[in-house]
């Protein structure tokens, strides 16, 4: 007879996911049944759902942690809770951005809100996955929602091109990811991460080619999502074409989700055999940082520049992954939080400056912003300095922890490469600041209005960056 060993605590373990999905389904039905509802109302209900999910996320701390639920499908630990928080906050901020963005562009919240909620649910699943199957399904839920969101300006050829490229290459990468999962399954005989972990640590010294290929293909699949060179090619095109709030969501949420999976698989599950791939990851980290930063130097489109910058930042985060010691997880998580604030802040400003139809996305359109919109310019400056890693911003602290983790494992050269790359990156971040303060605008750029929603986002990012830069300790001890 079939026995089902699933109790209420199992549902408690995925409570935030359930809340988010429930709201997504509700909103979809609501939108269909009452089409006259004001579109922003849908967005605000969605926000409320995210808020409730955030609150319910704390409930996870109450249940028994550090164990698996749903017959070994999901795992609840501090990492789960932190990742949920990152994903939910990202979704909330991007949804807020979208409410403002909908003033300059027709956005249908009937579809958008459920999509962003489902995407967030997918990310959270990746964050708490205990099985390769859950990682795969979470990743695909997220990706499919993102494919559509990238093409959300569906009468804009740039947006649709971004969606198509993302979809084709994303599905292509999924193929490799699945092949890797199949090889791991064939090697270990299960997709459960704890058992995979046990297998890899027992046989760390005599893993056969198939076992190694499996993990390598998995790294490639995740590397695509987090935009590691040479699997980054989609990033600039898709970031440039997608609507700005969606770009922000992809840049932060999808990357965080990818790194969540990397943490789950590479650090926590197969970590014992880390020496087998640490060299490879070392190489990937260096190439990723360098390529991202070097190409970013000559970009004039702010979204494209931020895309290459996000590639470079994936490289920085890889430094922490390569380290593979006990500080890795907290360092990576801290950086992800910081990265969320500074990137969303930058994209929020870019969204306002770009104006209707995203016409003004060139860096030269930022000229004179320091005079005309001092607060916007301030937020952008802080974000740029944080991305470039200056104290006392969170970006500095984040890099500090990553580099520290690498140093503790003896990767001095990696840290030197990281610092050199930071040096290069200053140049293109500072270009934006120079444009804003040290140049006068030649043409009058009609910007979008700063609505309360986006104002809130700007405030949160500003406070977040400084808080993490000046008082990182509390956050860091909460993270992991």
């Amino acid at each position: 007879m079939v026995t089902i060993n699933i109790g209420s605590s199992d549902f408690a373990a995925i409570l935030p996911i359930l809340v988010v999905c429930a709201f997504g389904i509700y909103l979809m039905v609501q939108g269909v049944l009452a089409p006259r509802i004001h579109k922003l109302t849908l967005a605000y209900i969605g926000l409320a759902g995210i808020m409730i999910a955030m609150v319910s996320n704390f409930y996870l701390l109450g249940i028994e942690t550090d164990r698996a639920y749903f017959e070994g499908m999901v795992f609840v630990d501090k990492l789960t809770v932190t990742l949920n928080f990152i994903f939910l906050l990202t979704a909330a901020l991007c949804l807020l951005l979208m409410t403002s963005y909908s003033e300059q562009e027709e956005i249908e919240f009937i579809e958008f809100t459920p999509l962003i909620l489902f995407a967030t649910a997918g990310m959270m699943l990746m964050g708490c996955a205990e099985s390769l199957m859950i990682i795969f399904l979470g990743l695909e839920t997220m990706s499919i929602a993102l494919y559509v969101m990238a093409g959300f300006r569906r009468f804009n050829r740039f947006s649709l091109e971004a969606a198509l490229k993302y979809l084709l290459l994303g599905a292509f990468a999924t193929g490799f990811l699945l092949y890797g999962m199949a090889l791991i399954y064939g090697t270990v005989g299960t997709t459960n991460l704890t058992q995979i972990s046990a297998y890899y640590s027992e046989n760390a010294l005599n893993l056969n080619v198939m076992a190694l290929f499996g993990v390598a293909l998995l790294v490639i699949g995740f590397g695509f999502k987090v935009a590691l060179v040479p699997f980054h090619m989609w990033t600039p095109d898709v970031y440039q074409g997608a609507p700005i709030p969606v770009t922000a969501y992809m840049a932060v949420g999808a990357k965080a989700a990818g790194f969540a999976a990397v943490l789950r698989v590479l650090v926590l599950a197969t970590g014992q055999a880390a020496f087998e791939w640490s060299q490879l990851l070392w190489l990937l980290a260096v190439i990723t940082m360098t390529v991202g930063n070097i190409i970013a130097l000559v970009q004039s489109d702010i979204k494209r520049m931020l895309a290459y910058s996000s590639i470079a930042h994936a490289g920085y985060i890889m430094i922490g992954i390569v380290a593979g010691n006990e500080t890795t997880v907290s360092a990576v998580l801290f950086y992800l939080v910081v990265y969320m604030f500074m990137n969303i802040g930058a994209f929020a400003v870019a969204g306002i400056v770009s104006g209707k139809n995203e016409q003004h996305v060139d860096i030269k359109h930022f000229a004179g912003l320091g005079k005309s919109q001092p607060m916007l310019a301030l937020v952008m400056t802080v974000c740029m300095f944080s991305l470039a890693g200056f104290p006392p911003t969170g970006g500095f602290m984040g890099k500090l922890y990553l580099f520290k983790a690498a140093m503790e494992s003896g990767y001095t050269w990696l840290v030197i490469f990281g610092a050199l790359n930071t040096l290069i990156s200053v140049y293109y971040y500072i270009r934006v600041v120079v444009a804003m303060y040290f140049q006068d605008s030649k043409e009058s750029v009609k910007m979008a209005a700063v609505l309360p929603g986006v104002g809130l986002v700007l405030l949160v990012t500003l406070l977040g960056i400084f808080y993490l830069g000046i008082f990182p300790g509390t956050t860091l001890s909460l993270l992991y």
Partner: protein, 634 residues
């Protein structure tokens, strides 16, 4: 002591926040608030200094800043002899310059912004000198760099200003890169970031074999911040900023951060002879090299900028040969007279409608007397005329340099000679001789307002008597006194001095060197006098008036000519060549070329991003094959 020292950095920070947020409302009051904030800091610094004088030092944590697992960083301050001196200099000179800036920046559009940056700078600089750990040092280090960048580019309507700010920023990044790596090496080897912890465990760096690397990397940071060869190129351009900024940041305080840092880590540096040697070589070379570039420059602020670079070189000679107290002493006296020179230059420009070309000045002595008199005192101080402050500090460095190696002394002395010469040239061309001022401007020449001249007078006082606290021991012995400054700093450098065993010179030699210093200074001034005052006298009028003396004078003129052709012309030519060719072409060029190469690579690499999905996919597949291949063959 901990009940009030936290107020010292807090006050300027508050000032910065107030001016930053409400600057546009406060307008004229912004300067007042900024000055008061720095004044309070200064008063507390004096209090702290007096306590240190009584032997009370402080090294402790005010609160835990970051605590995460194995990593703990505290907000800790260290008030000892060295930092109390630095605090006095930063807040004291800073206060005077703030007061001066009230007059100088009067009527500027965004005074609030200016003073917010200035206060932020003072805050960062105080954090830099007061912190008791590497993280706060780095925080201050980046903070002052940022403020410097913002202030250089303050007149952003001028493209050259914005460009200069960017240049300063980017060049400093190169130094900071090394600095950060150095800090990281120290931190990971020793496992702590507090100074006290590091000094207790320097042996670990030695046993790990990284002490020289770490020291040199730290010094790389110092090279950037303190404008040493080859990272000095940003400083002359930085003169695009408002003059009070040049005085505060690019003369008195920020650029000395590197010297402070080396002095702070004297114990660490004392373990690496190689690093010390590198510091001496770079310092000596910069001292001489920058001085020659100041010879023919006609921009009053640029002359002072090259002079600053050169003087910083002397300070590095001091800390490099192990005479830390002497280096810090020169840092202090230099802060007085160089700030004074810059502020004086600013006052001159103020009087002359922002004219900076000294060829368009002259005979200003009678018209702006206070400015001229104070400027002259600073000139005498920097030239090394006893008993002005610069004499004692420079002499002490040169004496110690002689003990290290006579060759260092020789180059230093040549530099001193050139210094005396170009400073005299500057003074003579500006204040004496015939007026070459634009007649239009000449009508409006006026003395600066009181708010500007009073700081000049205070600084002039300090520039004159500031050296007396550090009269060399062998001179003080004459009346049973002692070298107070040296004595005061003794505890900080005791450990390093013990390791280094500085050679002692005989008294006769010390007197001899002192005499040589004075002669060199006088020689330089005299030569400038011959060239720029004598030349200015109209020979025809002279000949008519003093027929008998004419021949002699005429002959003397021949001497001048001879000197001109035989000695000076080559120097002038060389100086021009150094300035135009080496500085502008090679050093600047190298920086530009490397930037261009990176750009070119960037332009090429971006072409890989063709927009074709197929190519993206094939790049991915190649990546897959390489990754799998890596496992196959490893």
């Amino acid at each position: 002591m901990e009940d009030f020292i936290w107020l010292i950095p807090l006050m300027p920070l508050l000032g910065a926040i107030i001016n930053g947020l409400f600057g546009h409302v406060l307008k004229g009051k912004a300067g007042l608030i900024a000055s008061i904030a720095v004044l309070i800091s200064f008063l507390y610094s004096v209090k702290a200094f007096l306590m240190v004088l009584d032997g009370v030092t402080f090294d402790g944590d005010l609160f835990t800043w970051i605590a995460a697992g194995s990593f703990q960083a505290n907000f800790g301050l260290r008030i000892d002899q060295l930092s109390s001196v630095m605090m006095l200099v930063v807040s004291g000179v800073g206060f005077l310059i703030h007061v001066y800036a009230n007059g100088y920046m009067h009527g500027d559009r965004s005074v609030g912004r200016f003073f917010a940056y200035m206060n932020l700078f003072v805050f960062s600089m105080l954090m830099l000198v007061m912190g008791n750990n590497l993280l706060l040092l780095y925080l201050g280090w980046e903070g002052v760099g940022l403020c410097s960048y913002l202030l250089i580019g303050y007149f952003y309507d001028k493209p050259s200003a914005a460009k200069a700010g960017l240049k300063a920023f980017l060049v400093n990044r190169v130094g900071d890169f090394g600095f950060a790596i150095g800090i990281f090496i120290i931190f990971t080897t020793i496992g702590t970031i507090t100074y006290s912890g590091i000094f207790e465990n320097v042996e670990r760096l030695v046993s790990a074999g990284v002490v020289t690397t770490a020291s040199l990397l730290l010094f790389m940071g110092a090279c950037g911040k303190s404008a040493q060869f080859p990272l000095y190129i940003w400083l002359p351009d930085a003169m695009e900023g408002p003059t009070p900024v040049s005085a505060l940041i690019h003369a008195a305080t920020m650029v000395t951060a590197g010297v402070y840092m080396v002095a702070r880590f004297s114990f660490l540096f004392s373990y690496s002879e190689t690093a010390m040697l590198v510091i001496v070589i770079i310092g000596t070379f910069t001292a001489l090299f920058a001085a020659t570039m100041a010879l023919v420059n006609n921009d009053i602020k640029r002359v002072l900028a090259y002079s600053t670079i050169s003087q910083l070189g002397y300070m590095f000679i001091g800390v490099g040969v192990g005479a830390y107290a002497a280096g810090v002493f020169h840092l202090m006296t230099h802060a007085f007279f160089k700030a004074l020179l810059f502020l004086g230059a600013g006052a001159v420009m103020h009087s002359l409608a922002d004219e900076t070309n000294i060829q368009k000045m002259g005979a200003l002595y009678g018209k702006i007397k206070i400015t001229a008199l104070t400027f002259i005192m600073a000139w005498l101080a920097i030239s090394g005329i006893p008993p002005f402050s610069g004499f004692f500090s420079k002499d002490e460095i040169l004496a110690n340099a002689y003990a290290y190696h006579p060759l260092v002394w020789f180059f230093g002395a040549v530099g001193a000679f050139i210094t005396a010469f170009y400073m005299s040239r500057l003074v003579f061309l500006t204040f004496f001789g015939e007026s070459r001022v634009d007649p239009e401007v000449e009508k409006h020449i006026h003395e600066s307002p009181r708010v500007m001249t009073i700081p000049l007078m205070v600084l002039a006082f300090l520039a004159v008597v500031g050296g007396l606290v550090g009269i060399p021991q062998f001179v003080a012995d004459l009346w049973g006194g002692s070298n107070h400054f040296h004595h005061f700093l003794e505890p900080v450098f005791a450990a390093a001095n013990e390791r280094l065993h500085l050679a002692h010179l005989s008294h006769a030699l010390e007197y001899g060197l002192m005499l040589a210093s004075v002669l060199i200074a006088l020689g330089g001034i005299y030569l400038a006098y011959l060239m720029y005052i004598k030349k200015a006298i109209d020979p025809d009028a002279l000949a008519a008036k003093y027929k008998g003396a004419y021949t002699t004078l005429y002959n003397k003129y021949y001497v001048d000519e001879g000197i001109d052709a035989g000695l000076l012309n080559p120097i002038v030519v060389m100086s021009r060549w150094l300035w135009h060719f080496v500085d502008e072409r090679i050093i600047d060029g190298l920086v530009n070329v490397s930037a261009k190469i990176v750009m070119l690579i960037s332009l090429l690499v971006r072409r890989v991003q063709t927009g074709y999905v197929q190519h993206y996919a094939s790049v991915m597949v190649i990546g897959v094959i390489l990754v799998l291949g890596y496992y196959l063959f490893s």
